[in-house]
């Protein structure tokens, strides 16, 4: 498998707190990697470092063989190729659903409005919210907003999509509609790095489960092996806490 994202000895501190400790991980093209772990384990920071929403202190991150630029036009160009879906959706509050999806393609990719609109409507249809295209984000439910956010990421034709706890801010009955969309994407071969607490998604769609604790990668294995036979005490303890309910 071609490596797409390669992190080598990445470290990050928040003041005294060593939040990423010597992280090295490779994600191949078409792979779905789920990152799980207790709060404060550094999993969101790791996810956000991959498109440099978080800076790192040392180590290297390369995407498609290119080292992550530190700033400027190069970084913007790279971010255009890396989709991101946030916990709190972050749809542009003053723009309609359709405009949210077409903004990047028009302003970054230079597509015509007609072309961008057509593609956006296809994507909105695919995530099941095409009939909401003219509304503002606040008029949609959380689950709908998150599916729009996925469509917005897809509209850029990204090489991979990062999901930072995409269902953590959703009401329980809306979680599945978002997860279904994500499972569909995984089946279509999209490269995905997903920080989540949804173990069901990890079992169903992940190629690998990465378990993080205290800023380190503790386990990195196939989902079935990880869930049925965790090796580390830290993972056993974590799983016993979340799987008993």
């Amino acid at each position: 498998m071609d490596p797409l994202v390669v992190l080598d000895s990445v470290n990050k501190h928040y003041g005294e707190l060593h939040v990423l400790k010597d992280i090295s991980i490779t994600v191949g093209k078409g792979e779905v990697v789920v990152i799980i772990g207790p709060s404060g384990s550094g999993k969101s920071t790791l996810c956000r470092a991959i498109n440099r929403l978080e800076t790192i202190d040392d180590g290297t991150i390369t995407i498609g063989g290119t080292p992550l630029p530190t700033e400027g036009a190069g970084l913007a160009k790279l971010r255009a190729d890396v989709g991101m879906v946030f916990q709190s959706f972050n749809l542009f509050a003053h723009k309609t659903i359709l405009e949210n999806v077409t903004l990047g393609p028009i302003k970054v990719r230079g597509k015509s409005k007609a072309e961008a609109d057509k593609r956006a409507m296809e994507l909105l249809d695919r995530v099941g919210v095409a009939n909401q295209a003219a509304k503002l984000p606040a008029q949609l439910s959380g689950g709908q907003q998150q599916r729009v956010a996925i469509a917005r990421a897809l509209a850029m034709d990204p090489q991979l999509i990062l999901f930072d706890e995409p269902t953590s801010a959703l009401d329980p009955e809306m979680i599945n509609e978002v997860l279904d969309t994500m499972v569909q994407l995984a089946k279509e071969g999209m490269t995905m790095i997903v920080v989540t607490h949804e173990m069901g998604f990890a079992r169903k769609a992940a190629d690998r489960v990465v378990f993080m604790a205290d800023g380190q990668i503790v386990e990195d294995r196939k989902p079935e092996e990880f869930f049925t036979n965790p090796q580390s005490d830290r993972a056993k303890d974590f799983l016993s806490k979340i799987l008993t309910h």
Partner: protein
Amino acid sequence: MNVLLDNLDIFVTGFRNTLIMFVCAGLIALVLGTIVGTFRVSPVAPMRALGTVYVNIVRNTPLTLIFFFFAFGYPKLGLPRASYLVLAIIALSLYTATYVAEALRSGINTVPLGQTEAARAIGLTFGQSMTLVVLPQAFRAIVPPLMNVFIALLKNTTIAAGFSVADAGAIRAYLSERGEPQLVVLLWVALIFVLLVALLSWAQRALEKKWRLAR
């Protein structure tokens, strides 16, 4: 009423100059203030410093002193000559821009960080994410304070009367030469200002209604 009707020429000239200064300085201050406000939240440290220095120096100087500089200092600098009206517009623009910048900065701070992150995550540059995502939302949030700034500007234009601009603030002086009762003249000037400000307040309400932003 006769005071107004008999001297309509003076009133019209005065308020025309006031409105010229208000509109020109308002537009320049809006543009300059937006640039300075953006500088103040820029990720580039020297730009932030430049914005801060500008705001602190100009905003902390009394407007009258800025007028003194342009009326008496500027002509000695050997720069192209300009009429008192143009110099007054420059002085008012530079001064008002600092207030626009600060109102805008407070507006920018109300836009959730996630909006910027989402903008940058789809590959927009800093400039694009400001102009396409952050500023449109910031402006919607600061309509009331921004309108305060413009109301202050409208009234500040009368200071130009002290620097040889025949604006609304100068009407009393002209009419006293014609022997009109000064108190009545001032009441008329005040009434017209109240009406103009009411017009601005109406514009503010209309904008607030149009731009009401649901979150």
